[in-house]
Symmetry: C2
Subunit: 199 residues, 2 copies
């Protein structure tokens, strides 16, 4: 016995979402069938509208509904520093810290030879173009702390070296609130080599 | 800083799904933005189509795209026994066992005074009507093994008592493959009182 065909299709479509297995897809599908009609229609419309109205900022590569995006056009932000991230969602994480008030540049990925992604597939040329004006003092490499992110940071650091710009990298170390005992050895080694004087 | 408005709307709509918190909603939204256009459109269409084409069977209350549903019209199935379940998805779980070849009746809920759901909100009248023909020999109460399911089973058992029909309830006991040590005491007590002779 099987579900009616339209329900099967919905379960299959939901099952393609990341982290959604067959059981969850089934639960979500039943929820959508039993939810108020407006809620289900609203979700369908939101998917289509987000796809239609959201684009990448032509300057920084952030997700935006206007171009250039709000971050690029904000006069309050320091126009002399660019923070380079892999994905647009990393910007949200960094903005939540309220520590950084400069510009961003989204690479839209990281160097990953396994997946066939080299510098040409990333927004590296766009970054170089932004540095040409000479107005940028510093580039903060905020790629992920994994192999791909590290490789990308190393590549960019070497690429930018000839330019008269300071290139920095986010610090590695113990996550705040974490137990030393449970830290993996590589993190611990990095935290050790990155130790600094107490003030 | 916030996401562009269409993205916020999509995150909000996804966040209404059961088991989807803000972080997951965000991840799903980004996935839908980056997925091939066909995939996102397919999901939106599947939601609308499932809502439009899926209905409840007028006989048993199962989800179906035709009326009466395939289960009600299957001549291979025993027309003398009805298995009463709370939700349409329970039918799928029971069908997977390949143990049962009779009819079903979906109550579309369970008695729950806390939520203001009494017998009148459930498909109880429809069940009584199906029993009137006198063709039904047995009603299997397969409501959930929780408080609401048990209350509903007790209510139905009393209601059906005057009718010349056998009323049975699914067995309680240890789940197959489980460790006695980890069984809760109520399950264990039920398994004990329901013990039977070894063959």
């Amino acid at each position: 016995m099987n579900y009616p065909e339209p329900l099967n299709k919905l379960i299959a479509a939901l099952g393609k979402l990341p982290g959604v297995g067959p059981k969850t897809a089934q639960r979500l599908a039943f929820y959508l069938l039993n939810a108020p009609a407006a809620e289900a229609e609203n979700l369908a419309a939101a998917i289509l509208e987000a796809r239609r109205k959201t684009h990448y900022c032509s300057v920084c590569g952030n997700l935006t509904d206007r171009d250039p995006c709000l971050l690029c056009t904000d006069p309050e932000r320091d126009q002399g520093i660019i923070c380079v991230v892999e994905e647009a969602r990393d910007i949200v994480a960094l903005e939540k810290t309220r520590q950084y008030r400069g510009l961003y540049h989204v690479l839209q990925g990281a160097i990953s030879p396994v997946d066939g992604i080299g510098p040409d597939q990333l927004r590296v040329k766009e970054l170089l173009r932004r540095l040409q004006g000479g107005k940028i003092r510093e580039v903060v490499l905020a790629t992920n702390a994994d192999v791909e992110g590290e490789a990308t940071a190393l590549y960019l650091a070497r690429l930018l070296k000839p330019l008269a710009v300071r290139v920095t990298r986010l610090a590695y170390g113990l996550p705040v609130g974490s137990d030393l005992e449970y830290a993996d050895e590589i993190t611990l080694a990095r935290a050790f080599s990155g130790r600094h004087e107490m003030e």
